[in-house]
């Protein structure tokens, strides 16, 4: 940081911060609009900004100050007719179950992970931010990152270097858009939701390779190449592990249908092999220990993230944690019966409970595992995981043919 802060620098800092704050919302919204308009994914919600804007009765503006007309939960209220109610696409994309919810949950997952790991290692972990057990630590880190300078390496490819955080965030947001959290609570639903989710997941290696290449750093480059190897190798068992689910759910690729077909028994029972394969491959997809080979900090400083600083780094990190949340949600939907659970508790709450349990199971191996080597990882993926995934498919076919499920 320079010693003398003049007005120009001050304005530039403010603009930079505004830039980052404003950039996140469109980055979530764009993929969703793409899904809606280009892919023509069917929107299943009653009243929205997109298809009913001509019906707004502007005379209702007179009731603007009437609290009963401002209730976002009431579909007939003024605010809902403006397209800002809880049932609107804008609300779903930006708040729940879209960006804000996922981002806040991810920040708490970061705090939760640090706290859990600290307990495993007989430490205290974050303590001061937020007074109670440091629960605001992630937000403190966020504000710290916002005020850091963005450093772009001298010989880096600036365009692609700066495009990577946006691309990561856009992909994570797109992943969120197709994942329902309740029988009627979702942003976009399609007959091919599962396929879309898997397709979006396979975009991530391209972005990480781009990050490694654009940084113009040898460590970044090696990290990017490793990420590419790892993610592509583990893409195949990931998709194969899901095939059994599709067979058992009657060929439907829609998450709502898949969850409904688990009303008798959760698929983790018959599809335990598939669940194990999905779990391991998901760990590799989000580069968590013991599979954090692309970010191996003792050999490749921080892998493909080496040159990223400030909010660039923050956004990438947030995107990775949103991806982790999305994969936990996928596991819940595919194997743990989604939002199904005893009646008095709403389905969304059941879904969240299961997802948080899955997040914990994703986090815990970090405490007692060393990192594996890239050649061991890849041979494990190609030899064992694909074999187990095929065995899982045969079990599914057998169960289906015997009429047991």
């Amino acid at each position: 940081m320079p010693e003398i802060v003049n007005f120009e620098q001050f304005v530039r800092r403010i603009l930079e911060i505004l830039f980052w704050v404003l950039i996140i919302l469109p980055m979530i919204a764009l993929p969703v609009f793409y899904l809606i308009y280009v892919l023509q994914v069917e929107i299943q919600c009653g009243f929205s900004l997109l298809n009913c804007s001509h019906q707004i009765d502007w005379s209702l503006a007179l009731y603007m100050f009437d609290p009963s007309k401002m209730n976002p939960l009431d579909p007939n209220s003024y605010i809902s007719q403006l397209g800002l109610g809880t049932n609107s696409v804008l609300f779903k994309v930006s708040t729940f179950p879209g960006l804000t919810f996922a981002a806040i949950l991810s920040s708490f997952v970061i705090w939760y992970e640090r706290k859990l790991l600290a307990k495993m290692q007989y430490r205290i972990g974050p303590l001061y931010a937020g007074r109670v057990e440091g629960w605001l630590q992630s937000f403190a880190d966020l504000f710290k990152l916002l005020f850091k300078e963005i450093v772009i390496p001298a010989r880096a490819d600036t365009l692609f270097f700066m495009a990577v955080p946006f691309a990561m965030m856009a992909l994570s947001g797109a992943l969120l858009a197709v994942i329902p959290v309740g029988p009627t609570t979702f942003i976009a639903s399609s007959a091919y939701s599962l396929l879309i989710a898997l397709a979006i997941l396979s975009f991530f290696p391209i972005v990480t390779l781009l990050a490694g290449w654009a940084s113009n750093n040898k460590f970044s480059f090696i990290g990017g190449i490793r990420a590419l190897y790892q993610m592509i190798s583990y893409e195949i068992p990931l998709i194969l592990s899901v095939v059994g689910i599709i067979i058992l759910s009657g060929g439907s690729l829609n998450f709502v249908d898949i969850v409904n077909s688990q009303s008798r028994i959760w698929f983790i029972g018959p599809m335990i092999l598939g669940a194990i394969v999905f779990y391991v491959t998901a760990m590799a997809e989000v580069e968590r220990i013991p599979f954090d080979i692309p970010e191996a900090d003792s050999e490749l400083v921080a892998g493909w993230l080496t040159e990223y600083t400030s909010m660039n780094f923050g956004v990438i990190n947030l995107a990775v944690y949103i991806k982790l949340y999305a994969l936990s949600s996928l596991f819940t939907l595919l194997f743990l019966g989604g939002w199904q659970g005893p009646a008095p508790v709403p389905g969304v709450v059941w879904f969240m409970i299961k997802t948080v349990i899955m997040l914990t199971i994703f986090i815990i191996p970090r405490g007692f595992n060393p990192r594996v080597r890239i050649d061991q990882l890849i041979s494990f993926g190609w030899v064992w995981l694909i074999g187990i995934a095929f065995a899982n498919i045969f079990i599914a076919v057998f169960l289906r043919a015997a009429g047991l499920l």
Binding site: Y122, K218, D297, S298, R366, F368, N369, R371, R373
Partner: protein, 368 residues
């Protein structure tokens, strides 16, 4: 730096001195795919001329400066210096001082090995194995503080004996700590040394066969891991090491796994030695009174001990004045560095940190 011409399909990567895995040290590796084809160590970033500096100080003044070279191993780096100085001055130190030197030396070995284990854990990506040993290291530092008075740099084994006597409360405290630490070592074995991923990462990685180890002249745990039962404490006993029972570990695997296990077993043996020392230690003075400007007789002397990283030697030449004429320090780190290129060439890039740290190379000690 020497600019190197490399082939098109090869990549030269500089590891250090700002790399998290290297410390104050750099080595350049050439990689072809995932295989290391060349390795050029480039030590000397923290060379402080410790040998030359001793020529401007008298015998006692050099001690704090010399022990800064090896902060995890301060007692063991000072002890050979003091032994050689005492030989030149013609003094015999009291037996209680010798026992105290043994206790501090073995305590220091545990501290150094725990530090080593923590870094080896994080180099293999095992964050718990980084936190646990560094946390347990603190209770041994507290033990050292009870005797030495400082936490890290206590300048303990000075010429003429030791600086302080042991307090009465040391023995019960030490026995309690050892009972606790025996349990913790079992935890370490469960969570780290028997973990299948740890075995996958270390077995057969960085093999240094017995013949090569002897030819290259490596010392300490690296030599013992290569199936050579060599230990200065057994070969040329100093202090009272011939009076205590302990085992020198050696392994037939000769790889990174063997080097890790040697460190683990040596920590147990060190505790065993301290337990025996606490039983046998006699009462009496701990120090021979020397004048601040003590003169040494003209001549040469060589002191050698088994430090935590291997054989540590001081060769002192005296011209009969209050200052040494010349001091040559033989440090184990530098002697083990010669094995690094041999072990790295042909191995995977991902094994580089584990192999490098299994040699227990301490750049500050090596550069002196």
């Amino acid at each position: 730096m020497i600019t190197q011409q490399v082939a098109e399909d090869k990549l030269t990567v500089s590891i250090g001195p700002q790399h998290p895995g290297a410390g104050h040290f750099r080595f350049t590796i050439t990689v072809e795919g995932d295989t290391i084809t060349d390795c050029v160590p480039d030590p000397g970033y923290v060379h402080r001329g410790a040998e030359k500096q001793t020529e401007y100080r008298n015998y006692l003044q050099s001690i704090p400066m010399l022990e800064r070279s090896s902060l995890t191993d301060v007692t063991n780096i000072i002890m050979p210096y003091s032994m050689a100085s005492e030989e030149l001055m013609g003094i015999e130190i009291p037996p209680r001082a010798k026992y105290l030197r043994m206790i501090m030396s073995e305590n220091q070995r545990i501290i150094s090995h725990l530090y080593w284990l923590g870094i080896q854990g994080i180099f293999l990506g095992h964050s718990t194995m980084f936190m646990w040993p560094l946390g347990d290291r603190d209770i041994f530092i507290d033990l050292g503080q009870m005797i030495g008075g400082a936490r890290i740099t206590y300048s303990y084994a000075i010429p003429g004996g030791v600086r302080n006597d042991m307090p009465e409360s040391f023995k019960p405290r030490a026995l309690k700590v050892f009972d606790y630490f025996e349990k913790r070592l079992k935890d370490y074995e469960r969570i780290f040394f028997s973990s299948p991923l740890f075995l996958k990462r270390t077995l057969g990685v960085g093999v240094l066969p017995r013949e090569d180890a002897i030819k290259l002249g490596v010392v300490g745990p690296v030599l013992r891991a290569s199936d050579v039962k060599s230990d200065v404490r057994i070969d040329e006993p100093y202090n009272f090491y011939e009076d205590v029972d302990f085992e020198v570990p050696s392994f037939k695997e000769c790889d990174t796994y063997a080097r890790c296990m040697v460190h683990l077993i040596e920590m147990r043996q060190s505790m065993r030695i301290i337990r025996q020392c606490l039983e046998k230690i006699p009462q009496g003075p701990v120090r021979v009174k020397l004048s601040p400007q003590q003169r040494a007789n003209a001549g040469e002397a060589y002191g050698r001990v088994e430090a935590s990283r291997g054989a540590m030697g001081f060769h002192i030449i005296s011209d009969g004045s209050t200052k040494p004429y010349r001091v040559k320090i033989s440090v184990p780190s530098f002697r083990n560095l010669i094995a690094l290129p041999k072990l790295l060439i042909g191995s995977h890039v991902a094994d580089m940190p584990a192999i490098y740290w299994s040699l227990d190379y301490w750049p500050v000690e090596a550069d002196r």
